[in-house]
Symmetry: D2
Subunit: 448 residues, 4 copies
């Protein structure tokens, strides 16, 4: 490998500025500051004003932030009359000049405002957090979605895949980054630094994250990987405290057991799919012994579906399952979940392969994510996540989605075009198994 | 200073991918590949197709590249009817949905194509080079300016100041970067590696460049700085082979004697102004002894102006000057340029302060750049650049533009609003000096 | 600053090998392996055998390790007859050849053995740990001190000040390094990662460590620094959970409140003095506002001395103090310690300035360290360390040693030559204060 | 790969101090400074005095440097009487105390002086240069070899293999390092930066160097490697300007065509053997296609041997060869060398396998180096180095030494113990070929 460390230098300077901008105070109102920023022509004052806007914004309380967004919404909106004229003009004379005018008129001034705010060193992270505030306000202030169109448009450009950097996260990584991994883990909570260490330090445990160079101390999304011999039957196996580390030669399977998005302000600007495939590619090169790449994933909507209208089983049965789940999560053993392992796997198979949203895509959000990435359903495991959360939402069932890089393209296409869900033969058979009469709902619905 | 080297790691992975993308070949025509890229939904195939497009593009000859741009122009243009409808719909019902539709309709599909091409690792540099080709075609194919609007729009977002990284360039920098400094130097050519070493290695010589993390081995713009005691009277002083290095305590003046843009494909996406001010800020912190920050700049339009209609002197006089300049650049001494030093400075002052374009801005492009950055004209030097180039275009005259950080804001504003050019008293007086009768043009034009 | 990141590269390869050597197994006995290593001439086999020795050593239990050291002691000792002959030969003919032979004969073969073991990548750390084992055995096996002479001789060369690297330790440092900081802190125990974060993350808290490039993930010694306004009166003030961070402009005092040696195997190869002075130098450059550099140090021998023969107070009084200390460390308030604050400071001053070892140096080990570094006693604080440890050994008293870089040289010389202890006027006066009659020992001993 | 960039940080501080120490001036004589350094107990003054000694030394002219070494020789020599007493004392009472005293007495005080000088940041490089001066003086001042024993003793410890770091040298390496590669290349001179670039930039050309962390910008030894398909027949093939780069899949042979020691002051502290084997190991991992590792080496003593007493050929024949070599190096073609290709190879085989020094080792220094490393003679090539140098000393013949890692151990042992030279069958046969009668020396000496 021929390489250079010039980037080391290059990045040393990024480090110095870090992820947070230098606060700058200014007496003008935030409205006035925004207006001045937009009309400013000097880049020095522009950065000062930008810094003042961001500083001021951070000091605003919730209501004032809402007012700020309202300002962006009402006073920096598209001028529809101007746009209409520009369209007409361009329709009449398709000159470059008219096209440029049209393009300018088609963009709300707040977009340029956001772009100028991003001139401030460290602003990118502040703007991502600003969008998080905005997203929180949307349910009660749907008109603000207009602004979010501009945030999204810019973020799609700024967080273009070509600018993202994949980094291994290890026990040698900086503590400030690791503290954020603990904070952002969304699937299987990390109890403390010892728990984290168990997930990072052994050679058969890996973690990878995407970063953006302008937010060097903020991971965007990360995935935790267990290198195993065969597919483990439960997340408890993966996360147990005492286990003997596997040698590199022994491992044949990489299990993605947790994927977490870190930045709420980047919702909808998806990277998870890129990350998994990049990790598959990187691990394949590093560890040629690896043959199988699977997830170990929850079925977050399974319990709800079993209680709902589409359920193939009676509410009585679901109630029994729930009591059993609660008992189990109290650490007492639960015979029912154990003895009904196969029934639960069968129901989960029906859920995964049969339960759909109106648009024909799977009801389960995790399933939608992996299947639309081109993965297929490989196997189901009962009592595979016996945490309270896992029992409550999935009755402990977990699923392996299979990333077979030779097939992801075609499976993705099949899924995208016809909603076809790839599944292994055993899981397909499970999905077709009969629900025993005593568990059956009066009006049974069978997966076709 | 508290810092981290995590970015070192982070960037190590950028390094590995370098600035150039992995070639990928595919039999489809480039038209088909572009269409497929736009309609692709899987990101794996998307990156493969993107890579195939870029690979194919690089193999095209000039005429086929023109055809490719024509394709972007004609087949991926704005759909004006659809946009018109979207404007009408939004005019009628200002819903978020209609706004989103309008925004989508207002963007030519080729913009999304370029965004997808940039998913390919190393693509950014390839796209910058693609725009260079495009700019070369514009004079003869003005309709292609439509496409350039999209390139520019994206580049402004991608090369946002917030994403640029300033790096000192030194004799410790990687040779591949330094080879590019030699190549890109546009003002005072660097003869060879020894010449480069003289400009980088001494402690009283500095160089800084902007980089973009996605193009880690391509400088975007760089500036060369000489740390001096007082303002040097000529670039020969600055660049002489044998000179004794100054101690840090002795220097009081930083002289920016060369600023070069490196990427023709980024024309109009200006960074030079940011760079100078950032360097002023950084050097001020590192070397508190520094009191004065000036350029030592050419007047590239001076000789032409003296020969033109606006000239205050006779063509005979200009011819004499030119003969004298040629003599001088043949290394023979030239009495005229020496004896007319003051006349030349006076004429140059008239040129800088008085010669304007139609829009009221200075005729000289370098003057426009620095004055619009908020610098002022501080001093003029005769026989200050005796290279053939310097004698031919500027009759050897050079100018110091003064970056006084306490005044750049106000001077920038004054210049932007009223075209007012800041100048020191001596230079203003020079500009008002009478042209001797024997040099004068029959119809004299005096600077007001 | 002109710099290079080439070392980044250079060090990347050190990282890869890490601090631990690759295990290599070999069936030969460790005695045979050592003999073969010494006689080996090929460096490949040499590294393999060396690795096998280190691997084997690590698997030995305590008794077998003792046997290994006995082997080094008896079979790889100086050949006194040969040496005697070499001395005689050299005495007769002072040729270079004879001198070389003498030098060779004056070195025990085990020294060459250790040098060859260190050819193995990662061996340095293993050898430091080996010496730790050896030091543990010395009290019961004093003859092994012979071997320690060789370890020490080599370590003094290997850990020459010129090879040590100072590094800031921050919340951005790698977690594996920080885990070791927690582990090695020897003065004020670090409770957990949150405690560590409070000591590292605020801008007015700093930490620095020495590293050796061959042991990149093992700190050798580190010091924790609080940047304060004025000198804090207690370590509780320094370590409190809730406090407001000071701005850089506000701080005028750097307080070294904890210094810990990390490697027991490097006992006697002192670096702490270098470290403190380097940190003083570095902080002075970074934060020119800093005027005062002091420690906040325990008096670990104070309580013992008060109970001993040299004590100026009665055993009754000491008993009362001890009961009071126990009460206080039970978190109940202790009036006596509060009301006797001044008496305790006076006694501590007598202890510090008057209590001596036979060789005339201060009885207190921490005092010996700082005073021999050229520091002076600046101030004493009562109830300044109310941890159980602090109350038990120092009755809560702490001392500021003052590092005045203009005086450390002369104070060091005075201390080294005449045992003169530098002290501020207030502390000197305190040391001369009379012990109240009711606390006095029957046979009073007054500090002169 | 799990890794850390902490070392990046760690090393950043090394960089800052660089390889050169800060000059410090002091009025004392160098004799007095050295005496004061030895008696100093404070490490601050110690570093100042040390810096003053090094600064003063660098300003001395040749004669004064000789005087300085004489001082070390005479006034800081071993005290033989004291040593003799210490030996007697230890002979009488083998106590640890006596052993420690003996060890101290067995070391000349100048060794401690050098150790203290090395406390100065950047001193290591200065001390290496100091030894270079010393080595230059040895031929005329043989008594100074006494001092060199101490330099060597320390350097062996300081430059222990465990502390050396291997680094790839590439076109991305810092220019200051590359400038030193140009300067230090000792086998096939590098004409200029373009020549260097041709040796570094192509993917089938590699270069590796050893560094010591205390001399980060000084390579110690480096090797240049050409990755080839098969073994090239000449160095002209390797170094030709225009050639097409090989793909990684095509290469099967790594050719070490140049090995240069960089630091004359480290003569005898050999690293070249470690470097070659490390590079073989590293390349084997990176490029599993590589099957053969050979050098392409000169025979620097061949021509001399042919002219000497041991020569199997007549002086007439050698004279003819020499004339032919001079003709060839004048770029005219030389029929003789071409037509006598096989004779020359035969003679070279006799030289390599048969010509010995008194101690039984090969006469050729390059052969001694590689054969004692465990390599064997694989092949000989005529007209393989047609540079003036190559023609003059080797009549253009070059040799491939073969590094077969499965055999280096045993071949090394065989060579070390019995002087046995490993050679391929073809070369062995060549060595036994008859010298034609017309070329033969009157008293022929045949290789047995």
């Amino acid at each position: 490998m021929k390489n250079s460390s010039f980037l080391g230098e290059l990045i040393a300077s990024i480090i110095d500025r870090g992820s947070s901008f230098s606060a700058f105070r200014d007496d003008r109102s935030i409205d006035k500051l925004c207006a001045d920023l937009l009309s400013s022509k000097g880049e020095v004052s522009s950065r000062k004003i930008g810094s003042a806007v961001l500083t001021r914004y951070q000091e605003l309380d919730g209501e004032d932030r809402r007012a700020f967004f309202q300002l962006l919404c009402s006073q920096m909106d598209l001028d529809i009359a101007a746009l209409s004229n520009a369209v007409t003009a361009y329709g009449g004379d398709r000159s470059v000049k008219n096209l440029a005018a049209l393009s300018a008129a088609a963009e709300a001034p707040r977009q340029e405002l956001l772009r100028r705010l991003n001139h401030v060193p460290g602003a990118t992270s502040a703007l991502v957090n600003m969008r998080k505030d905005l997203l929180d306000l949307l349910p009660d202030n749907p008109e603000l979605k207009r602004i979010d169109l501009d945030f999204s448009h810019l973020f799609v450009s700024w967080f273009n895949r070509g600018f993202l950097v994949i980094r291994p996260i290890s026990w040698q990584s900086p503590a400030n980054i690791l503290a954020k991994i603990i904070q952002y883990e969304a699937v299987h909570a990390i109890a403390d630094w010892d728990d984290l260490r168990r997930r990072l330090q052994p050679d058969d445990r890996r973690c990878f994250a995407f970063f953006h160079p302008a937010m060097p101390d903020e991971p965007l999304v990360f995935v935790e990987v267990a290198l195993c011999r065969g597919i483990p039957g439960s997340v408890q196996d993966v996360l147990q405290d005492e286990r003997s580390e596997l040698d590199r030669e022994e491992v044949d399977t990489a299990v993605f057991y947790s994927i977490s998005n870190c930045q709420q302000g980047l919702r909808g600007i998806s990277f998870g799919n890129f990350l998994i495939k990049q990790v598959v590619a990187d691990l394949s090169v590093q560890l040629p012994h690896l043959k199988t790449f699977v997830t170990l994933s929850p079925l977050p909507g399974f319990a709800d579906w079993l209680s709902g209208e589409q359920s193939p089983v009676s509410q009585d049965y679901v109630d029994t399952l729930q009591r059993s789940a609660i008992a189990k999560s109290d650490n007492s053993d639960s015979e029912l979940l154990v003895s009904h392992n196969n029934q639960l796997r069968g129901l989960a198979a029906k859920y995964l392969l049969g339960a759909k949203r109106e648009d024909g895509t799977p009801l389960d959000p995790v399933a939608r994510f992996h299947l639309s990435n081109g993965a297929s359903v490989l196997e189901l495991h009962g009592l595979a996540d016996t945490s309270p959360n896992g029992l409550q939402h999935s009755f402990g069932v977990m699923v392996n989605y299979h990333y077979d890089m030779d097939k992801v393209e075609s499976q993705h296409e099949a899924f995208a075009q016809s909603g076809e869900v790839g599944a292994s033969k055993p899981v397909s058979q499970l999905a077709r198994s009969k629900v025993p009469a005593d568990m059956r709902r009066s009006v049974e619905k069978e997966v076709s």
